[in-house]
C-alpha cells in the first residue's frame, strides 16, 4: 500500500502523509457518522422506542442532517472566555483522538505508520486529550466546565496507570511494542489470540488464559474511563454538570467534541482487538486462501478488524444505556483499590511465566 502510494505520488514525504491521513477520511469520518446513528438506534431499541425515523429510511440520514444543522449554527464564544484557548481546545481533542489511528494496523496491507513504538505512541497521543479537556474547561470561564475538566483530568490520569500496566504485560508476553508484530503473532485460528494465551503451547497457555481474561477486563474498564463513557462519564455528568467541559461550546466546535468521542470509542476498541483478539486476523482461515485468490485476503482482514472493532463499540453503547454513573470518589476507588493492584498482580505472574 505504501509503495503503491509512493509510486503514484512520486514523493516519499507526501506519500507518507497521505498514508497516515487516509484512514481518517476514508474510514473514521464515515464511521463516526454511522456510529452516532447506531448509538441512537441501539439505545432506542433498548428503551422500547424507535429512535430517529423521519430523515431517510428508518432515519439513516439523521446524523448527516444533524451535522448540517450544527455547521449552520452560530459560533458563540463567551465574552469572558479565554479566546485563544477556547478555540484551540476542540482542535487538540479532535487531532489527538484521530491521530491514534495512524499506528493501528487495519490489514496486512494497510497500516498508517508501522512504527516500532506503536503502542507507546497510541498511549501517549490519547493522553494528550486531557490537555484539550482542561483547556476547554478552563477557557470557558464557566464553573460547570471547570468542575468537569478537573474531574476529567483526575480521571484520565488515574486510569492511565492500569492501562499502561496491562499494555506492559502484553509487551512482556509478545516482546514488542509494534502492533503489527503483535497482530501477526496471533495468526491462524482464534485459539492463538492473546486472550486465549497467545501462540504459546503447553501448560503456560492454560495458566495464561484466566490471566489474559483479567487483563482484558482491566484494560476494557480503564479505557472506558479514559474516553469518558458511562459508567465513568463524570466529566460530562449531564445531570450534575449540565455538559461538563463542553457546556459553553456551540455549533461545529461542539460537533468536534462529539465526533472525537466516537473516534475515541473506536480507537480503544481497535487497540483491544489488536492486543487481545487477533487484530485483523480471521478467527478461522481466509476465504482468499481456499479460493486461491490472494488479493482477497487484505479485504477480508479489513472486514474482520472492523467487525471486531464495531462489536466492542456496540458493547460500550449497551453498557452506557444500562448502567448508572459512578461518583467521583467511587471512580477513584475503583481505579486505585481494585484495578491497579490486580493489574500489577497479573503483570508479575505473566512476567514470571515468560521468564520460565
Amino acid at each position: 500500500m505504501y509503495e503503491l502510494l509512493e509510486n503514484t505520488v512520486g514523493n516519499q514525504v507526501i506519500a507518507f502523509f497521505i498514508a497516515a491521513a487516509l484512514p481518517l477520511f476514508l474510514f473514521i469520518l464515515p464511521y463516526a457518522i454511522i456510529a452516532v446513528l447506531l448509538e441512537r438506534k441501539v439505545s432506542a431499541h433498548m428503551q422500547d422506542r424507535l429512535g430517529p425515523m423521519i430523515t431517510g429510511y428508518h432515519g439513516i440520514l439523521q446524523t448527516v442532517a444533524d451535522i448540517l444543522k450544527l455547521i449552520q449554527k452560530e459560533d458563540i464564544i463567551p465574552t469572558l472566555a479565554d479566546k485563544k484557548l477556547f478555540i484551540l481546545a476542540p482542535f487538540i481533542i479532535f487531532v489527538a483522538s484521530f491521530a491514534a489511528f495512524a499506528a493501528i494496523p487495519f490489514s496486512s496491507e494497510y497500516i498508517g505508520s508501522s512504527i516500532d513504538v506503536g503502542l507507546f505512541y497510541i498511549l501517549a497521543i490519547s493522553s494528550f486529550v486531557v490537555a484539550g479537556i482542561l483547556m476547554g474547561g478552563w477557557a470557558s470561564n464557566n464553573k460547570y466546565s471547570l468542575l468537569g475538566a478537573v474531574r476529567s483530568a483526575a480521571q484520565i490520569i488515574s486510569y492511565e496507570i492500569p492501562t499502561a500496566i496491562v499494555v506492559l504485560t502484553m509487551v512482556m508476553l509478545t516482546g514488542t511494542l509494534n502492533l503489527e508484530t503483535i497482530t501477526n503473532q496471533q495468526t491462524a485460528y482464534f485459539w492463538n489470540w492473546n486472550i486465549f494465551g497467545g501462540a504459546a503451547l503447553g501448560l503456560s497457555k492454560f495458566v495464561l488464559i484466566p490471566l489474559m481474561f483479567g487483563a482484558f477486563l482491566i484494560i476494557f474498564i480503564s479505557m472506558l474511563a479514559e474516553v469518558n463513557r458511562t459508567p465513568f462519564d463524570i466529566a460530562e455528568a449531564e445531570s450534575e454538570l449540565v455538559s461538563g467541559f463542553h457546556t459553553e461550546y456551540t455549533g461545529m466546535r461542539f460537533a468536534m467534541f462529539f465526533l472525537a468521542e466516537y473516534a475515541n470509542m473506536l480507537a480503544i476498541s481497535f487497540v483491544i482487538t489488536a492486543l487481545f483478539f487477533g487484530g485483523y486476523h480471521s478467527p478461522f482461515g481466509y476465504l482468499g486462501n481456499s479460493l486461491g485468490a490472494e488479493w482477497l485476503i487484505p479485504f477480508e482482514q479489513l472486514f474482520w478488524f472492523t467487525s471486531k472493532g464495531i462489536f466492542f463499540v456496540i458493547l460500550q453503547m449497551v453498557l452506557r444505556w444500562t448502567l448508572p454513573r459512578l461518583r467521583v470518589d467511587q471512580l477513584m476507588t475503583v481505579c486505585w483499590k481494585y484495578l491497579i493492584p490486580y493489574s500489577i498482580a497479573i503483570l508479575l505472574i505473566v512476567g514470571f511465566i515468560t521468564v520460565l
Binding site: 428503551q47 422506542r49 468542575l147 458511562t230 462519564d233 445531570s239 448508572p324 454513573r325
Partner: protein
C-alpha cells in the same frame, strides 16, 4: 505559608437539567465537597391561595390540579374531601370507589415519575423511559375517563365530573396484570444495581427524629422507618375498607433513612397501590356519580383542616368559610414544600453529585412548592 483558598459558589438552576423544575440552588463548594446549600424558590409562584379567595368553591378545583401537577387527581381528591367535610356532604359509595382507584393509579403514576427521574439523576437513562412507558398507560386510562392527560379536573365537590368510561374497569385490570412484572424488571435494572446502590446507600441519611422535627411526610418519612400513612392513621374516604401494608425503610443496603430507602419505599408502595386497586375494581357499586353534587356550594361559617396522603406526602387544606359562596381563606400545606426544608441539612458534607441524588430522593414538584 498556607495557600489561600476560596470556596466556590456554584449557582445551580433555575435552568438546570436535574433540579426537577425551576429550583435555584446556591451551593458553596470546597472542591467537590458541599459546604452549604441555599435553595431559592418562588420561580413558579402563581398566587394560588389568593386566587381562591376570589373564586367560588367548585371553581377552585381546576386550580388544585396545577399544584402537584404529577398527581392532579390526588389534589382534587383532597380538596373535595375538605369541602365535603365542611358542608357535611355524604357522597355515594360509587364515587368513593372511583376516587380511591383514581388516587391509587395516580400514586403509581407519580411514583413512576419519581423513580424514573431518579434513575436519570444517577445517570441511568433507560429505566426512565421504561417508567414513562408504564405511566403512559395510566394516563391513557385517565384520558378516556376525564378527557385530560395531566390536569384532570375530575374529582368535584360532592361527586365526579362524569361517570367512568365503559372500558375503564377492563383497562385498569389489564394494567394491573401488566404492571406487576414491570416492578420486578425495574428492580433488576435499577434498584439492585451495584453502582446504583453505591451511589444511594448511606447518602443523605435522614434519621426518624429529624424527619419528625422537620415535619417530613409521605415516602420520605416512611423511608426513615416511621410507619405513618394517613390512609391508615387518619383515614378518609373508604380507605379503611381495604387491606394493604405500609412499607417502611429498613436500611436493607445501608442505613435506615438513606436515599436508597426513600427510593425503595416508593417501589414497595407501587405494589400496595396495586393491591388496593385490585380490591376496589371488582366492587364498584352502581349508582349516579353526580347525585350528591350540591347546586350551590355554600358551606356554613367555620373552618376545617383536612389532610390526605398524596404521593409526595401529607397534603393539607385549611379552609375558612365566612358563609358566602367564596372561601375566606384557603391555605395549602404542600408536602413538597415541607419536605424541601430538610434538603440543605441532608446535603452538608456530601459531594456535588450527591446533591442531585438527595434532591431526587426527596421527590419534589415545584408547582406545589411555589403554588
Amino acid at each position: 505559608m498556607a495557600l489561600k483558598t476560596e470556596e466556590m459558589v456554584l449557582n445551580m438552576g433555575p435552568q438546570h437539567p436535574s433540579t426537577h423544575g425551576v429550583l435555584r440552588l446556591e451551593v458553596a463548594l470546597n472542591g467537590e465537597l458541599v459546604l452549604d446549600i441555599k435553595p431559592h424558590i418562588g420561580y413558579l409562584h402563581r398566587c394560588f391561595e389568593k386566587h381562591c379567595e376570589a373564586m367560588s368553591y367548585p371553581q377552585i378545583v381546576p386550580y388544585t390540579d396545577r399544584m402537584d401537577y404529577l398527581a392532579s387527581m390526588s389534589n382534587n381528591f383532597g380538596y373535595a374531601v375538605a369541602v365535603e367535610r365542611l358542608m357535611g356532604i355524604e357522597v355515594p359509595e360509587r364515587v368513593d370507589y372511583i376516587r380511591v382507584i383514581m388516587a391509587e393509579l395516580q400514586r403509581i403514576a407519580s411514583h413512576l415519575v419519581a423513580l424514573g427521574t431518579y434513575g436519570v439523576d444517577i445517570g441511568a437513562f433507560t429505566p426512565f423511559l421504561f417508567c414513562f412507558r408504564d405511566r403512559e398507560k395510566i394516563l391513557e386510562i385517565f384520558e378516556e375517563t376525564s378527557g385530560a392527560r395531566l390536569l384532570y379536573n375530575y374529582i368535584w365537590v360532592g361527586g365526579l365530573a362524569q361517570d367512568i368510561h365503559p372500558d375503564f374497569v377492563r383497562k385498569t385490570k389489564e394494567f394491573v396484570d401488566y404492571f406487576r412484572p414491570q416492578i420486578t424488571d425495574l428492580n433488576n435494572l435499577l434498584s439492585y444495581n451495584k453502582i446504583f446502590i453505591e451511589r444511594t446507600a448511606n447518602v443523605g441519611i435522614l434519621p426518624a427524629d429529624t424527619a419528625i422535627n422537620y415535619g417530613i411526610t409521605g415516602p420520605n418519612l416512611r423511608g426513615s422507618g416511621v410507619k405513618w400513612d394517613l390512609r391508615k392513621d387518619d383515614s378518609y374516604s373508604i380507605y379503611d375498607k381495604f387491606d394493604f401494608d405500609i412499607p417502611v425503610g429498613e436500611g436493607k443496603v445501608g442505613t435506615v433513612g438513606d436515599s436508597w430507602d426513600r427510593y425503595y419505599v416508593r417501589i414497595l408502595e407501587l405494589e400496595e397501590s396495586l393491591k388496593i386497586i385490585e380490591q376496589a375494581i371488582d366492587n364498584i357499586p352502581e349508582g349516579d356519580v353526580q347525585e350528591a353534587i350540591p347546586k350551590r356550594v355554600k358551606p356554613p361559617k367555620g373552618s376545617i383542616y383536612t389532610r390526605v396522603e398524596n404521593p409526595k406526602g401529607e397534603l393539607g387544606y385549611f379552609i375558612i368559610s365566612d358563609g358566602t359562596l367564596n372561601p375566606f381563606r384557603v391555605k395549602v400545606r404542600a408536602p413538597s414544600f415541607v419536605n424541601m426544608e430538610v434538603f440543605g441539612e441532608l446535603c452538608k458534607g456530601h459531594f456535588v453529585a450527591d446533591i442531585i441524588t438527595i434532591l431526587g430522593s426527596i421527590d419534589i414538584v415545584l408547582g406545589e412548592i411555589d403554588r
